[in-house]
């Protein structure tokens, strides 16, 4: 049984101009120990799909799916009380803007402790020791002292490490990373990607990487889903996708990479749209 299985997921938003279809019948499956990359441009619905899974979309969104199961647990019918037991513990998520994702009014130690208290029932000394342990595992120097630091006292890369620490604090079975390195410098991006892959391999959790960066896909993924305007264009293992892309949109995306440029001009997606008809 796959860890997460979603069939025919549709998400619609009510807008002033009528319903807007953000996602139109997409399937996702992730196994434990697997890294799935969902890649697409803005508006492709890549984040919406995972926010729907987490139950984080606003009330204006209508979510329908034929199947939406996490370890056999039906996420569609889950009460919010039961959902809170799963979200943040078995499934957790990290976001693009690390500094904005942390509460500026509390120390990182407090925020990490909160997670442990809610889901694992750890308190006081025990919680503190565990927090130090997790911060060490994500490579924060001097974790004992950094506990009492506020988010603004840390760099973007360090905040992202804290976010990762918070996400893995309860040893989740599935980690969803939504553009985890987009706001960071290349050298820091490398460190964070290495850390994520390392943690994933050590713990055997499933990892979903949402990204628009083909380089990040190439460096981390086992399997890739390419999305465009709310539909799935192609799904393949990472090597097949880069070596032999089937879908015209995937081909367009890959040839728009500056490093694949041949000749003077970069081909753009619209050049392919006319020829490929998507």
């Amino acid at each position: 049984m796959p860890l997460l299985e979603i069939r025919n997921l549709k998400v619609e938003f009510d807008t002033a101009k009528g319903p807007f279809k953000a996602l139109d019948g997409v399937d996702y499956t992730v196994d434990g120990g697997e890294v799935l990359a969902i890649v697409g441009e803005s508006g492709s619905g890549k984040s919406v799909a995972m926010l729907a899974t987490m139950g984080l979309l606003p009330d204006t969104a209508t979510i329908t799916a034929d199947k939406m199961e996490f370890e056999g647990l039906d996420l569609r019918t889950l009460s919010s009380r039961d959902r809170r037991r799963v979200i943040g513990k078995d499934i957790s998520m990290i976001f693009q803007e690390p500094i904005a994702s942390l509460n500026p009014c509390f120390t990182v130690g407090f925020q990490l402790g909160e997670t442990l208290k809610t889901h694992m029932g750890l308190k006081g000394r025990q919680a503190r020791d565990r927090v130090v342990e997790i911060l060490t595992s994500v490579g924060i120097p001097n974790p004992g002292e950094r506990l009492s630091a506020f988010p603004h006292q840390m760099s973007g890369g360090q905040c992202q490490r804290v976010m990762i620490a918070m996400a893995i604090a309860c040893a989740p079975k599935l980690l969803i990373a939504d553009e985890p390195t987009t706001a960071l410098d290349v050298t820091i991006q490398k460190q964070i990607l290495d850390l994520l892959v390392q943690l994933q391999q050590d713990s055997g959790m499933g990892l979903i990487m949402i990204t628009h960066d083909m380089g990040v896909v190439a460096e981390t993924a086992d399997r890739v889903i390419v999305q465009y305007k709310g539909r799935k264009m192609e799904e393949a293992d990472v090597l097949t996708l880069f070596e032999n892309p089937k879908n015209p949109y995937t081909k367009a995306l890959l040839s728009a990479l500056p490093e694949n440029a041949t000749g003077d001009r970069l081909p753009t997606v619209s050049d392919f749209a006319e020829a490929g008809g998507f």
């Binding site: 803005s42 290349v186 991006q189 190439a218 995306l253 890959l254 500056p258 694949n260 970069l266 619209s270």
Partner: protein
């Protein structure tokens, strides 16, 4: 056109004073330390480095937003030192800038036509009909339509806004265009369109670019010369091929190693290492 240097910078420094507080002594921060460079007419210099390395401070000095502390800047034979001489209309005409975030760099309450005409209004005595004609021509040149003239920025996508920002920058027919991360906020396919537009404009108008970026694959595609900055200093400066094929400084090597590779061989290598 070797030897035709349009931008000459020698030993440029910029320091900022940091105010002291009750428990902190006042100190100075040197954001740019002794940068020297030459850019030839019609070529592209890429400046690479991570946040805080001084690349945007350099851009601010080249575009006369900020004054240098010491050192020489010469644009098209004209020495620039705004703390001493102020800025003349002639100086403004030589250099323009395009910023990273096309959502932040356009006034939301200003129509596109007005955005494009404003540099002409401020710096020339052109009559309004002529300004309008020029603005319409410019819209077409950057791949937009005449009907976009009366629209507001929120009606455009990120890529279209960046086209507008570029159009505004070249309204004055500058010699030198400073591009501060012009494509980092854009999607991959839009990025390709903007890079193509920049290449076309360079050819058509003989523009010289100083292209600031942290994305090495873009730099490799667009640059003639590359300069790598680290903590305010230039650690590597040379032609694109020299820098990419034979990086000298450790930081440049680290930077190259950290850049994700999207080619089949590196994926194969990674998968093999994982299986082992």
């Amino acid at each position: 056109m070797a030897g035709d240097v349009i931008l000459k910078v020698r030993d440029l420094y910029r320091t900022y004073d940091i105010k002291g507080g009750m428990f902190k002594k006042a100190s100075t921060l040197t954001a740019v330390k002794g940068v020297s460079l030459d850019v030839e007419r019609g070529s592209t210099l890429a400046v690479v480095g991570e946040s805080g390395c001084g690349k945007s401070t350099l851009a601010r000095m080249l575009t006369m937003i900020d004054a240098q502390t010491s050192g020489l800047i010469e644009i098209d034979g004209l020495p620039i030192d705004i703390s001493q001489t102020g800025i003349s209309k002639e100086m403004r005409q030589k250099v323009q800038i395009v910023f990273q975030n096309p959502y932040g760099s356009l006034n939301p309450r200003q129509k596109i036509g007005h955005v494009l005409e404003e540099p002409l209004l401020l710096n020339t005595d052109m009559p309004s009909a002529e300004r309008r004609d020029l603005a319409l021509q410019m819209l077409e040149k950057v791949g937009l339509q005449p009907e976009h003239y009366g629209r507001y920025p929120h009606m455009f996508s990120g890529g279209q806004r960046q086209r507008i920002a570029i159009a505004r920058a070249i309204m004055m027919k500058p010699k030198l265009l400073v591009l501060d991360e012009p494509v980092s906020a854009l999607d991959l396919s839009v990025q390709a369109q903007i890079l193509n537009l920049l290449a076309d404009l360079q050819e058509e108008m003989g523009l010289t670019y100083v292209f600031i970026s942290h994305d090495l694959s873009v730099v490799r595609y667009i640059a003639d010369k590359v300069m790598v900055m680290y903590f305010g200093e230039v650690v590597e400066y040379g032609t694109r091929d020299e820098v990419f094929e034979n990086p000298q400084h450790d930081y440049t090597k680290t930077l190259f190693a950290a850049t994700p590779r999207a080619d089949v061989d590196s994926i194969r290598k990674r998968l093999a290492a994982k299986a082992a």
